[in-house]
Every structure is written in C-alpha cells, then in structure tokens.
Symmetry: D2
Subunit: 312 residues, 4 copies
C-alpha cells in the first residue's frame, strides 16, 4: 500500500481521526498548556495498535507550539521546561544514572543538523564526575556524555555500529537520541517536538536511518527526541491532491471533476499520484527559507531541556 | 493575471514554446557543446518582445548542464570556460576596464548564499593595481573589486543604496552581479546558469530584490549571473496540476477528469490553484537536500569563470 | 623611537604611570563598579597631550572586567549596560538620530571577526522606520543600519571608500565602528573594552587599517568600540625583557646580569630587542586558545550594548 | 628536568645536534626532494635511543616544505604525493586491508581543527564495499572509514574510549590518526608534516591528549600524521632567551651580560625562565594570523595524500 511518509506518530494517527475511527490498542490524551501550546500523549498499548499505527508499542508525546519557530526567549524557555518534564517522565528512574546523548544527522546539511547542534550545546559532566567525584556538580546531576556519530557517507560506518561500540566501552544507563524528522504537513515544520521511549527506527529521520537504535538493538532504554525540519516534496504533491478533493467537495463548479476522481478506485488514484511525481522530486524536499536560523534556535530549546532534565 | 514565478528567461519563453507560438521581437539560438551541455541565447529585440516575455530588452544566455550538480572537477572547469567566454562577450570592451563584482543574497541562508560565496573566491586586484601599477599582474588583467552588501534585514539599507554609494566612490566601468535564483522547474535546480546584460530586476532572486540594479539605475552596464537554487512551493503545486492534465490526456481512465478540468475556464482554474495552496506554503520553498554542498561547488564554478573572464 | 604597539590608550598611558610622570593635557578618572569591573576615563585635552599619548584629542573610556572572558550571562548583561551608558554619553544628542554601525575586520579570521559578528547581531531598524514610520518601534528608537565592509584583500577597496559611499547615499547622523584590537599586555586579551569618540586611526586594529575613519575624514561623528583579541608576538618578547629586568632587580643572584643590561643605553637595548625578534615572528600573533568561543560571546556583549544604547 | 614542549621528534633531536652529540640508538637519514622540500627519516632503534629522545621506538618521518603555507595547487599536490608514499611505506602490507582514519582535535577551535577537517574530506569506502562488494571501486581500493571523536569537554569521554569501542565493532586492520601539533620553532608552523608509526602519546597535540592511541593500547597498528599549528607562548619566551644568549655571544657590548647569564647554573637558569612566564601565558599560544585559511588548505593536502595512499 502507498504510505505517506511521516516520522510523527501524531500524523500517522490523523489519517484515522479524519474518518472518526477509534483504534484499538492506541490511547490518546490531549493536554493544553495555553492557547498556543498543545501536548498530546499517544500510548500504543498492544501489538494490534502497533500494526495499525505502523510503529512499535510505547509512548509518543508531541508538543505542538505554533510560535516555536519565532524568536522569543521566554516562549522557548517555557517549551524547554515542558520538554524537560516529559524527558524526566520517560527516562529510567534511579540514582546516579548516566546518559549518552546521541546527535544524529549530518552537520553539513542544514536541515539535518539538529542532532549535532543539540550535542554541541549540552552540559557535559561525565569526565568531570569521573575525575572529581559524583558530587562535583551537586547531589542530583546525572553523568552526561555525548557523541555526534556523523552519517554513513562521512564515516563509512552505521551510526548503530559507532554507538554500540561506545556503549560497550562507557556503559551508560540510557541513551537520548536527537534527530531531525520529516513531517507530512508543512504547518508542523519547526513547530512540533516528538519525544518517544521507543527509540529510532529504520527509515526514520531526514537522513533515513538504516538500522534501529532501540532498547532491543542496544540493550538499554533509548529516548528519541525530534523536530520535523523537512517535508518530502512527494508529500506536498499528495497533499495537493487531497486539497483538490476538499476543494471540489465544497465548490459547485468543480463537482464534475471531484466525482470523476472519486470514481477512480484506490489503485487508480495511487497510480495517478505516482505518475504526477516528477523524477527529480525524489531527491528534493520542502523546507522553510530561514531553516538555518530555525535549526540554531531549536537546537538551543532542546539542549536546554536536556540539560534541565538531567540536572535535577 | 496569475504569473508563475521564474527568474529564468528561458522558462518564461517555454510557456509559448509548448503552444508552438512564435514571439515577435524575440530571437532564439541553440548551441550544443556536447551531449550534456546546451547553451541557449535569447535576444529580446523589441519593446513588443519585452512585453511578451515580461522582462526588458537584452541578451539572456542560459547554460544548461545536466551533470552540473555532480562533483567532477573537469566538467566544472569546462563550464567555467564556457561561462567565461559568455561573460567576455557581454561585458564592455576596452582597455584597462575595472569591474565591481556584487555578491547578492544572504550569507546566512544556504540557498541564498551563492552571491556572497562567489565574492569570497574572486581574484581581487584593484588595490594591488592601484598601489603597484596596472602591470603588476601582467598586461591584460582588469581591475577587480567586490562587495557583499548583505540583505536589508541585516543592514537596514537597500542593496542598491550600498552599491550606488560604492560606485560613486570607486568609479568602476561595469558591474557583475551574482545571485541565487528561483526556477519554475525542479529539474533546473543547480543545473542551469543564466547570464544577462540586463541586470537585476525588482522581485527577482531568492531574496526578492526590491530595487533594480540595471544600467538605467546605476549608470554603468550591469551583467547578472545566476543559478536557480530554489523552486517556490507554489510552483510545485502548479506543476503538479499541469502534470495531472498531461497524465489525464494520455491515459484513458482519467479522461472524464481531464475533460471536467478542461471545462473550467482560465479564471476558474486559477482560483482552484490558489485554493490548493496551503497558507504555510507561501514561506516554504523546495530545494535539494545537499544544497549546502551544491552552493559551495557552484560558487567555485562561477568565481573561476569570472576570474578567467577578467584576466585576459 | 621604538614604539610598543597597542590600540589601547590606557596602555599608552601606562608607560608614563610607571615612572610617576604626570602628563600635561591628559586627564584621568577612575571609577570602580565592583571588585571586578573598573572603568577608566582618559581625556586628551590639548595638542600637547595628544603628542605625548600618540593619539588625537578626545575621550577614551576603558572597561576592564577580569571575568569578561568567562561564560556568565548576568555578568555580560552588566557589562552591556555599562557599555550602553558610555555609548549614550559619547554619542551625539538629539531627536530621531540615525546611526550606521560598521563591523570592521575579516569575517574569515577568527581573531579579526569581532566587528562582523557584532554587526550580525544588531537590531536593525532603518528599513522598517522608513517604510512604516518613525514610531513603528515606539518613540525613542533610533534608525539603525549596519555594514560589514570586509577587508581590502577581499574587496579591493579601502573600508573608508565603501563607508564614504554609503554615508553619502544614506545620510546617517553618526557612525559606530566596531573592531578587534591589538593589546600590549596579554592579561587584557578579551577582558577590556575601549570606547572612544575619536574614531579609527591608520595602523590600528588587528587588521591594521590604512585610512582614518574619523569625523575629519567622514564628516560626521565616529564612535569606535574595540576589544583586544591579539597581542603581537613582538610585544611578548619585549614584555619578557621587562620581566627579566624585574626579576633581576628582586633576586640577588641575577644582580650582575641586571646591572649589565642597565648599563646598555636606550639604543643598545632597542637594538638588542630587535635582534631577538626571529624573522617569522612578524606575522605571528599571540591569542587565547578558545578565541573562537570568546569572540562569539563578546560580540553578543557589544551588540546588546549597542542595541540598548540606540533604543532609548 | 625542564623540557621544552614539542610534538616534533625532529625538534627533540635538534637540541643534541646543536651540541654535535651523536645519539646511540637513533638513526637519521636526510633526503632532499627539491630546493624547498626536505624529508628526514629518524628511526629510534633501541630503548636507549627512546630514553634519550623522550619518545618510543619507531619511525618518525618529517616533511619540511618552506612554501607549504602558500596557496599553490601544484606544490600541494607534490607534497600530497610524497606524503602518500610515506604512508604506504609505514602502513601494514596486505590485501584487502581496512583503515579507520581518526580526526583528532576540536572542530570549534581553528588551530585544533586539522584532524576533523581532514576526516571531512576523505574518500570513504567501507559502507559501499560492504554493500556492493570489494571490487566496487576497482581491485586495489582499501576499505576506509573515519570518525571525528570530538574532545573530552564536548563528549565527556576520552577519545581512546570512543575509538576502542568503534574498533571492537568494526574491526579495521589499522588506524591513521590525524592531529594538530605544537612545535617549538615558529618557523615550522604550518610548514612541517610528521608521520610516525608509533601512534599518539599522552600530552601530545594542540589538545594535549590524555591517553595513548598506540598499537599497545588499541591492539592494531596506529599511524599518526600531524602538522604543527601552534607554538606555546612559553616556548617563545624560552627561544627569546636562547636568542639573547646567541646575540650576546656575537656582539661585544653585551659580553658582560652574556657572561653573567652563563655564570648561572642550570637550575638558576630554569628558575629565571619560569619566573619570566606571566601567569596568563599558560593559556595563550602563538599562531599565524591566517590560521583559518592555512588549516583549510593543509587539511586538503593531507586528505588527498590519505586518499592516494589507500586507493592503490
């Protein structure tokens, strides 16, 4: 079946929502911080739910903040605090835990550089706490280390190989993986944060990871934090078709056209969409013009949150 | 009337070509360098032609090179040589001329940084020739100076104000303005160079210049060199509609649909397209994933060409 | 006579201070903000004073802050506020004044990139106030524009040519020039800010400006703000000789050596120092290892101050 | 004993050379490529020699090239070819070997960014050869992977921990470690390349590595390639003292001074030098003004050489 690509569980859920279908094994809770910030917790509870959603069992929490792409220090601090709260909730509990933060993605490609930029701005403590004792930063600071593994074209190695090696040598208690995501809807670009305790899955991220970074694969819990920075151009085309249908439904003059599209069966519709994709579109993507500034700002919001979450 | 935005004269011409219309006052010559590189010279000769094309009288030369976005040093050198030849053809003739190269665009936005990056890599000679004599680099070197004026949000000034001031102080004989462009077709991204002796016009470029940089405005000839690095997302939507029509024309099952779209008049079609544009799409653009590397490579190709053209 | 190079008026004054000489025509006031921050106002009041100090009549205000090279947001805000206060004091008074901020130096050389980085972070208002009226940001906001002229090797033009041209076109009321400086003492690196109403003089700055940017040269008042980011290696050698003499004075075993150096006359001492300078030292400079981070931090401190000073 | 710090074995040897001492267990061969390029092979053959030189047994090959800091493509290619030849000589022999290149140092500190920048420009093949077979690039290409481990302040981990982990996972046959070095003599800055088969030792490099990256520590051969980009400021002071002594020896008027310094015993001389070191000098270093451009250029020279050496 033709699958619209999205890294956001929330967007995968939406296709059902439109049709008012309730999905067995998937629980949804909405929380509103203020006019502008909405937090949605989705729990995929059963294997059935996992199949329906096309992703593994676990917690998927989404912060949607319409003004997150603006430059407003107070607003970003507020989001950092919410994100820190969620990280704490999903992270393993216990004393003197140590975390390895993995900044996934390609430092040289602006839209894929979120992970490396977050790693650059973390408060790194492991080396100091090993040298001067666990109390050097006060009682409740966790041991924090970080790595930017780079992408396969730069290193010749899978990120998972590099990370597995480092885990074996340094033995942290859990991993926080940060990555730039692809969304389905352009209105979510740079305005949504997803946090999940299910880790990173093959095919996800702007860089299309090939191997899982999950508790199953690595042996320790993996939190994944991501922000969508791109939309596949193919998705835009598809959205256009949907908008077209919507438009046709509402406006009388297009009635004939809408009916003719509707009269196509699903396979015919899919084939039509595929044909519409110009060959060059596969390597293109849609992003905001000021993506350079956005990624800088958002990497600060996430790194602040991680610093907060691991300090108390 | 609804105008698809493109900075390439070649693309403006294409809408007529499809309908096999010959345009009065516009002359077209095609030249093929090799399998892969095609050079098209368009001369808008009359005011009538200018009106039809929506741009001023003058020469518009386009180098299309399908492999230009690849990393192949020999290939890029070949393009640089062709570009140098064209620059020499369009530039004012004479002894001891001096050129000011203007790197337009925003250094901080990858897709708009072509101009500044070209300026960074030029062979600058004016200061040396003033200090040590016109022969310091051999008989035929032109005086070259360069400026990166920045964008209005950074400077609070129009690029045209900055450039006019510098022209008055330093009195060069002509200007070469380099800028990143917007194209209509995704297949031209990073694969086409346009050179024109008509300068820079309001509304053109990734950054949407507000004021002209033309011989009329500045008092000296202005060559403009550009490469399309983005396609407006709105253009993609429009292309999709066209592809849709094409698809409908060729495949029997969609015949009904095509006919119903065709039965809409031009205004209805336009309104339909506008409605399909999601509100966020206006600030979005489509670009290649490896735009960071492309801009670095292409800025080298152009600066090599300018260096060649001004040295002999 | 052999002159130790420094861009800090305070350091030029110090050579006299050591000898307890009072200098006619030079007034000195010291102010202490707290344990750590010291502000010194030096007024060169007469031509005599100017000759003694080797720089023109005017105000030279120095903020020395021992912790300025550390990462402490509150501390930097405090310095920004002091600096803003001084800028206001030295800037022309009047309603609806407009300022052009000039970021001098070379963006590509870390230790010389202070000026460009300050310009990047300013609150630019001129274009908005021209378009939407002088009240668009409230009553008291000045018109602010900014330019990064680049260095002669990049542009082929003197900074002064570029700036004169822009002044003529855009007619601001005064200039604020920001530049990286050379100091004499390594302990001042990244820890001192100099503000003067005498502008920029030939030979000053990390980049050794060739032409003045002064009220005489440009026709409007010029404030200059600078931070020393380098010490000439030659200065280090000279300091070593001084330390040597000090050491000799205090420790008995070196008495013979000290006496023999002292027995050299001034010219002999100078010749000795020159001989000690290895030929390569001339193009070398001494800087802090973390200069990249320091320049980023300090450019924020200065741009915040300028933003504050021009907003109320 | 007081040791002048240098990462160049050649410079450690020089102190003996000055005194015309032959060192047991150390063999020296000089080779001259042309007027300008000199290659010196030093072999430390015995434990005795290792003690005298303060570094382990093995080969230390130095390319000194006076124009290496200039921008001359042909010259750099010539150096790359020499360096490639030496890498091949020192690297393990055999079919289908795989190499991990480690780019040591701090990407964010210009003078310490040589290693990361070399890693950025390598021809990486491991992932392609694993996926498409060992012949995908022709018969003789080695498997190449690369990692930029970052520095401890960024990662919280020793470079050696990260590398050991990656070695265990990916099993390469040998390591090539690239690092920026500290030299003793300013005339060697950016003009000397050292290649050794003894790896990286604690205390070496601009970043002062804490743990060894040697065959003993990692279990596979380690080639180390480095270029000096800094001189400790303390070294400059010391050089000055030596120049002082030289100057005194040659010029009559300073005879008394020279004799008084010579009359100090070694400990007194050392104490004098220590006293002359200003407290701030410890964190300062001397580097070339155009270090940013130099590191970019030299990273290309080294990566070209590694690419050449591993391709045939």
């Amino acid at each position: 079946m033709y699958e619209i690509r999205t890294d956001l569980a929330l967007e995968a859920r939406e296709k059902y929502e439109q049709d008012n279908v309730e999905i067995k094994g998937v629980r949804l809770e909405k929380e509103k911080m203020c006019e502008d910030i909405r937090i949605t917790t989705m729990v995929i509870e059963t294997e059935n739910g996992a199949r329906s959603m096309g992703r593994p069992k676990g917690n998927y929490i989404t912060i949607e903040a319409a003004s997150m792409d603006d430059e407003d220090e107070r607003y970003h601090r507020m989001i950092s605090e919410q994100l820190a709260r969620i990280i704490k909730r999903l992270a393993p509990k216990g004393k003197q835990l140590s975390a390895l933060v993995v900044g996934l993605g390609n430092r040289e490609v602006t839209s894929d550089s979120l992970g490396p930029k977050v790693a650059d701005r973390l408060f790194i403590t492991r080396h100091m706490m090993r040298e001067f004792g666990d109390d050097v930063f006060g009682k409740k600071q966790k041991r924090v280390s970080a790595i930017v593994p780079g992408v396969m074209a730069q290193t010749g190695m899978e990120s998972s190989e590099i990370i597995r090696g480092i885990l074996r040598e340094t033995q942290p208690d859990f991993v926080i993986a940060v990555d730039a995501l692809a969304a389905r809807s352009t209105k979510r670009l740079n305005r949504t944060i997803q946090i999940t305790d299910t880790g990173i899955h093959p095919g996800s991220g702007v860089g299309n990871h090939r191997h899982p970074l999950t508790e199953d694969a690595l042996g320790i819990p993996v939190l994944a934090i991501g922000i969508p920075t791109v939309v596949d151009a193919a998705t835009i085309v598809n959205d256009t078709m949907n908008n077209l249908l919507e438009a046709l439904a509402e406006h009388a003059p297009y009635g004939r056209m809408r009916n003719s599209y509707r009269s196509l069966d699903e396979v015919e519709q899919y084939e039509l969409v595929r044909e519409l994709l110009a060959p060059h579109l596969n390597t293109l993507y849609v992003t905001a013009k000021d993506i350079d500034a956005s990624v800088n700002r958002l990497s600060g919001t996430i790194s602040d949150a991680i610093n907060l979450a691991l300090q108390e």
